[in-house]
Amino acid sequence: MTKLLDWFSAGRTSGKYTLPFVVILLSITVLASAANLLLPQDSALYVSTYSITLLGKYLCYAMLALAVDIIWGYCGILSLGHGAFFALGGYAMGMYLMRQIGDRGVYSNPLLPDFMVFLDWKELPWFWLGMDQFWFAMLMAVIVPGLLAFVFGWLAFRSRVTGVYLSIMTQALTYALLLAFFRNEMGFGGNNGLTDFKEILGFDLQADATRVSLFLITAILLAGIFVLSQRILSSRLGKVTLAVRDAEARTRFIGYRTERYKVWLFVYSAVIAGIAGALYVPQVGIINPGEFSPINSIEIVIWVAVGGRGTLIGAIIGALLVNYAKTRFTAIMPDGWLFALGAMFVLVTLYLPKGLVGLYGQLTSKRGAKAKQEATS
């Protein structure tokens, strides 16, 4: 225990972005929340609930990107199926919210969600049991993705499935889940998924205060996960992770069981994705199998690449930026926004090989070099 505390306190020195990031993130969220709750609607500084939910969604995506970056950027495992863990976390939360509706559904069935009633289900499937308990559902939101990641990772890493083979298998995984969740027989609402939630822990989901709280919680968790991840990655385990990424075979020859490292990192990443999914659902109000779609998972990878792979801050910035661009583009030029987004991806790849964070690095190093030059001449 003391060892653990000790370990954490050692983390304070790691990562020069950590502190500024946490401070900026939390102050923005607190200010925005205050502006939403305390200021009158017509005030110039008022932040609309629309913006709050939007920001909340972005932060969930940022958390998801963080999860992908940890295993891709740091460990070299390109997962094209992380959307699956996100969606599973989301479904756990969705099931809880669904059960919270109780008999306020359109068919007033106290036990069965509406979609089960009209498809003529008679009883609640076993895997829905217990989901009316918040703690249990939240446990599931991390355990199910974690367990899936563990089983999948254990199989794959032990058999030394690597590279594109692994990537495509993760894609197959999420694709299989997509098809499975589409099936109405599965008992997750089929294509429609779960929606029309009413309240969470007794708080009205449509109330501004609830939304703001969710937003704040997301920000705090994101900051926490960021710090924790930063700490983990700057420990020796982080160095092993990089070693695995760059020369896995060599790492084994100096005595590390790389498959175990990979499995645990994969599980850690999946759990983060699950948490992100669980936070996402109450804020956007729906979870459905579309989240399992392979294209979604590819997009996550792209956020990370745009922001800058291998830097946690890059993943977050990438997620925020791409999603903000999407929001803006779809509203400003609904007919041509794909041109803009596509071009953005191409240009970033061509001109910012290390992503946006790399751009910052380039600029500062250029400035630094210039300064040096001036100093020497």
Partner: protein
């Protein structure tokens, strides 16, 4: 008949009186060198698509010995190391580390943790990390996940790394990315990684390739000083170097041992001259 051979053999092995059942042997038990031998390689066979890379190879190495392994290109030296370190699965034969560790049942990480370190023929280091980190990773520590996560560099660790940095002459480059080192520097770094991990048995594949004469000398000194506490097996084609360090030399040819003896014996061996050294041994 032959279909039963393997399981039968397996059964026999299981009940050998001189051995503890494999599943009862403690994973990291101390290496048993009561018989002075640290490495037993017996009847090793390995073929790739019909090509016999190792052919009934037998090799015994004493504890604390410095053994040179030479042999023509393609004789199977690197392949032998691959088998010992668990990189390659052999077709038949046994490899024991001490009397109690059957290496053929273990994987690379296990073998490394038993204390067998290796330097590759083509230097492989973690290019994206600094020289220092490369060494830190190679430290002899608990390499399980959780301990690694919670571990911190102790001052003795740092000291050890600095010592090694001095030995390999990369102190000045310790915060440089290993990928930016020149070929020869990578060779040194790899030797450093070996040193820092404090192994029982070192397998060193062509350490002086690409080194200047003086560096070669230094390497020779280094390796000689290591022997005694540790066992060192060196593969090299540089005869001068081999001569300067060797006590026993084993010559491999076409996957089996062609000759074994002192350097002088070897250098006058007709077969060795014919297939390996050439008419007038080149200096």
């Amino acid at each position: 008949m032959s279909a039963f051979d393997q399981p039968l053999q397996g059964l026999r092995d299981t009940f050998r009186r001189d051995q503890v059942w494999p599943f009862l042997t403690p994973e990291q038990a101390k290496v048993d060198v009561a018989n002075q031998m640290i490495l037993y390689v017996e009847d090793l066979n390995l073929s790739f698509d019909g090509f016999k890379a190792l052919n009934n190879l037998n090799l015994y190495v004493r504890d604390g010995e410095l053994r040179c392994l030479i042999g023509a290109n393609g004789a199977g030296k690197t392949t032998l190391m691959d088998v010992i370190t668990g990189k390659t699965q052999c077709d038949s034969g046994t490899v024991y580390f001490g009397q109690n560790h059957n290496l053929l049942t273990k994987d690379e990480a296990d073998i490394a943790q038993l204390g067998i370190g290796r330097k590759f023929q083509k230097p492989t280091v973690f290019e994206a990390q600094t020289v220092f980190d490369n060494l830190e990773l190679s430290l002899k520590t608990d390499k399980r996940v959780l301990p690694t996560l919670l571990s911190r560099l102790s001052s003795s660790d740092i000291e050890r790394i600095n010592d090694v940095l001095a030995i390999i002459g990369l102190y000045g480059q310790r915060f440089m990315k290993a990928g930016a080192l020149s070929h020869g520097q990578k060779q040194w770094l790899e030797i450093g990684m070996l040193l820092v991990s404090d192994p029982r048995l070192l397998l060193i594949d062509e350490p002086v390739a690409g080194m200047t004469a003086q560096e070669t000398e230094r390497t020779a000194e280094l390796l000689t000083s290591l022997a005694g506490d540790r066992t060192v097996i060196v593969v090299e084609h540089d005869m001068e170097f081999v001569r300067s360090i060797a006590r026993t030399v084993t010559v491999l040819h076409q996957g089996s041992v062609l000759a074994e003896g002192t350097m002088d014996q070897i250098q006058s061996n007709k077969d060795v001259i014919e297939v390996y050294l050439g008419e007038e041994a080149d200096a």
